[in-house]
């Protein structure tokens, strides 16, 4: 886990180990302190501090009017947030687990994503929807979905997903500050990943929509995001023994999509594997592979491959290790990039 974080750059003397969960909480706190219109609402976000403790201490510091325990109803949470945003507030809502967000889909798709467009720009909705997503934490049914493809398919939403402690802070700050609605996908199995970090240390907050190269290489590009970044970093290290020098691109934002960074990398390496843990069919990888093919066809030495979760409902936790793409599956795909030899 620390591999990815270690690649993010130099640290100042003031930094110390922090988890992604702490960085997210700090981003909420700093946003609320800076802007009195920022309100946090959701189930259990108050006294409990959220089931993952991301909102710990906010109700105490800012009061229950700013960090509100709502009735247990996701459509109601997001629907009331729409009205709050219509009146000039900047709501940040927590959808406790990925699959719990589904009752709020109609509000998200019919209203949150479209309000700016429906009103010809008169009524933008600066809402951040925090969705802890993905598996690998042993959660039972309905606690491990990767739902990003649903959000990506909805024009009007930004879809952001950090993979490092630093990005968790920076991208959440940027999302809350954005006048557009953002679905902020939190890779929950990285909540406890650590890095040397401090919010007081200089943090260059990239605007939403820029991918970053986490590891440079010459022989192929791994394109990934969120929970699969550490897997890809580990695979890249392991591939050195096999003679592969892999580049790793962390997308950070699925919408808008950074075609430039991806295409520049793939044109240079000539080979690409897209890695994510949500299902492959109709998943983000298909879109990304198509975009790469359209832009880099003459540079490609092999088809763009996808390493994704299987096309199955998310499995029971005792079986999830077979479903989640791990280092071996990534390395296997890298081996298959020797296309000429096989065909």
């Amino acid at each position: 886990m620390t591999t990815a974080a270690a690649a993010t750059g130099e640290r100042t003397a003031r930094t110390k180990p922090a988890t992604m969960a702490q960085a997210l909480g700090r981003a909420l706190r700093d946003s609320m302190a800076q802007d009195p219109t920022v309100h946090v609402l959701g189930e259990d976000v108050g006294a409990l501090g959220g089931v993952f403790r991301i909102t710990d201490g906010l109700a105490k510091e800012f009061g229950e009017d700013r960090c509100t325990d709502t009735p247990l109803a996701e459509a109601g949470i997001l629907g009331t947030a729409v009205g709050m945003a219509m009146y000039g507030l900047r709501p940040v809502v927590e959808m406790q687990f990925d699959a719990f967000a589904y009752p709020a889909f109609e509000q998200l798709i019919s209203h949150v994503a479209k309000m700016r467009n429906r009103t010809a720009g008169a009524m933008p909705l600066p809402i951040t929807v925090r969705v802890p997503y993905g598996g690998g934490i042993g959660g039972v049914e309905h606690h491990s979905d990767s739902s990003e493809a649903y959000y990506m398919a909805t024009p009007g939403l930004h879809v952001v997903t950090p993979a490092t402690v630093e990005d968790a802070y920076g991208l959440l700050r940027a999302s809350i500050a954005s006048d557009d609605p953002v679905v902020f996908m939190e890779p929950k199995r990285l909540y406890w990943s650590k890095a040397d970090w401090s919010p007081e240390a200089p943090v260059a907050v990239e605007p939403i929509g820029r991918a970053v190269v986490r590891r440079t290489g010459r022989s192929a590009t791994l394109i990934t995001y969120g929970p699969s970044l550490p897997v890809c970093m580990e695979a890249a290290e392991a591939a050195v023994e096999e003679g592969w020098d892999l580049e790793v691109v962390d997308l950070r934002s699925l919408v808008p999509f950074d075609d430039e960074t991806v295409a520049t990398s793939v044109r240079r390496t000539g080979r690409a594997v897209v890695v994510h843990e949500s299902s492959g069919f109709g998943g983000p990888g298909g879109e990304i592979a198509a975009r790469i093919t359209e832009r880099c066809f003459h540079h490609l030495e092999a088809p763009v491959l996808r390493v994704a979760g299987f096309d199955i409902p998310y499995p029971p936790p005792m079986q999830e290790k077979h479903h989640l793409p791990g280092v071996d599956r990534v390395l296997d795909a890298v081996a298959r990039l020797q296309w000429e030899a096989e065909s």
């Binding site: 109803a73 997001l78 479209k114 467009n117 557009d180």
Partner: protein
Amino acid sequence: MTVQELPGAAAYRPAPPPAWKPLTDPAPLLPDPEPYRVLGTDAVADADPELLLRLYAELVRGRRYNAQATALTKQGRLAVYPSSTGQEACEIAAALVLEERDWLFPSYRDTLAAVARGLDPVEALTLLRGDRHTGYDPRAHRIAPLCTPLATQLPHAVGLAHAARLKGDDVVALAMVGDGGTSEGDFHEALNFAAVWRAPVVFLVQNNGFAISVPLAKQTAAPSLAHKAVGYGMPGRLVDGNDAPAVHQVLGEAVARARRGEGPTLVEAVTYRMDAHTNADDATRYRVESEVEAWREHDPIRILERELTGRGLLGDEGIEEAREAADRMAAALRERMNADPVLNPMDLFAHVYEEQTAQLREQAARLRVELDAEQDQHGDEDVEERR
């Protein structure tokens, strides 16, 4: 061996449960068994004659608006129009009880309420004409976009009212929904949030008998829709939805209650949709003419007109005056709606995000090329005409 035979079983006595009492006394929340009425009752004596005359003029105008808009669908000037003919008393009262600073959250059938609140009649129709989703700035008029999905605007009203109260503003939100909409999950969640937060919201259910073709009896098993309020901990009020001063009074009391910080109210207005669901619907397939006839006798304009003429407040001249004013409004609307809206296809990309993404810039450039090619082929004038 049975439990009773177990040694010592007879000696066991469960401890009494901890004390329990209901959170709220339900009795004051329950609606009266009969819809509240003003017209034809003693209550009318307390009604302000000026308000009655204003309601009358607005009802006549509203009826004419519905007729004109329906006619525009036949001429292809509107894609569709869901008429509120028969329900004008609810529409007008909803608009008139609100102060300028308050907010209205209409459904797709409530164009008339938006117009009665002061919105330009043409701006109110852009959704139904099909040139823009919302032809007005919601913030400028404090009217949310006409909402097509059922009941999804109700939580917005709750959130807005809650936010206003947090900011210390003296603002009330009034949200309109039909009888069918009360079956939706968002109706339940909105009422529940509003009651828990004591948000300054008024929910107006226009029970017009049918959700497209499905009658109320197949929609709910509740004693009335107003009775649903008690389950959320807010008062439910039942009112004759065709009795304009009654609807105005009940909504007025609910708005005042909300403004005092006493929380939300659910008002069920019992009314009837005289026209079909929209111009595209065939109401003869699901209701009989005799039922419509019975409601025609209880028409909101007819019953108010009878009251006003009977009390000598309105004569033939006044009736004629109201009709002429309505005709003038309709003629102006017809004339303006006969002009083609000016559309710019490049606007399709203008308001998806604050800043266009690289992907949208690419797509906009593609459309630009198509439009330019079209222009080259047909010449400027022809293309302008075809747009």
